[in-house]
Symmetry: C2
DNA sequence: GGCATATAGTTAGTTATGCAACTAATTTCA
DNA sequence: TGAAATTAGTTGCATAACTAACTATATGCC
């Protein structure tokens, strides 16, 4: 493996460590300062529903890379906050369609602005090619492992 | 911000999403298949102690990018499994020095092999320059936010 | 039709994370 | 010297993650 010589565990720390934690914390902080009561995990679910509303829980699992119990409880909490609603599908009664409420629709622009602003802060001094490299590497890593 | 034009939230998903989750899950799975009962979070603490033994909890916070309660509880669990031991420092009695047991020392080679092997699987088709770019970008992101 | 199998979602138990509030030991400095 | 501020670590509370085991509905096949 000529390309993959690296120090013990170091790369694991890179991919799973400091940067993603720091970004997550900053985004959460920016949400809180804007008076938003949602977690970034909840936001990531809403994000996919803003792109396409009324997805099944299984589809949300696939798109957010979470397992089923995680999605069940995220939806539980989002439903408590009246941001989404479960509706049984008429074609297949095993399926819950998760749809946005009007309240949630109203949060879209603000939270996406905050996410963009957070990423702008995070990426000061990083150029477009580097971003493309990171995205492309991460895609290959994901594909290698799934 | 000429360098930072990107689609809504997309980059957030890249940095916090699929790749790191996939690597973490694979590493955990490889530990389990080798009969190791430790979590990747516990491993990441042990990893820093293998590099330098008997660190304070605060120093472990800095090196693992975790907050103090997280380290307190990770050490609690590692102590239950008899992998580390807390010892009050003689110079400053506020400080707990966290030291490896012989059992933990014996796990070093195996777990680091498993981590390296996992990262090799993950990085098939990724070259050295790309890895360096990812590391460098993540370092700058971290510095920007802290 | 009816049994085996697969799929969608939930529940229970353990570990981990973040924040806020707390105790105890140490340092600062007037 | 002694009160105020700082530092190290712990505890309580809420959310989230993974695994395994579970219910309910749908599908496949004889």
């Amino acid at each position: 493996m000529p390309n993959n010589q690296f120090k013990r565990g170091e790369l694991y720390s890179v991919i799973n460590g400091m940067a993603s934690t720091a970004v997550a914390r900053r985004l959460q902080k920016n949400f809180r300062q804007a008076g938003l009561e949602i977690t970034i995990e909840q936001w990531s679910v809403l994000y996919h529903l803003w792109k396409e509303d009324c997805l099944s829980q299984q589809e949300l699992c696939n798109r957010t890379f979470r397992d089923k119990p995680s999605i069940t409880r995220l939806i539980d909490n989002l439903e408590k906050q009246k941001l989404v609603k479960r509706t049984a599908s008429k074609e297949d009664r095993r399926i819950n369609l998760v749809c946005l409420t009007e309240t949630a629709k109203g949060l879209q622009d603000l939270t996406i602005d905050l996410a963009n602003q957070t990423m702008s802060e995070a990426l000061i001094g990083v150029n477009k090619e580097e971003i493309e490299t990171v995205k492309s590497v991460f895609q290959r890593v994901y594909d290698n492992l799934t």
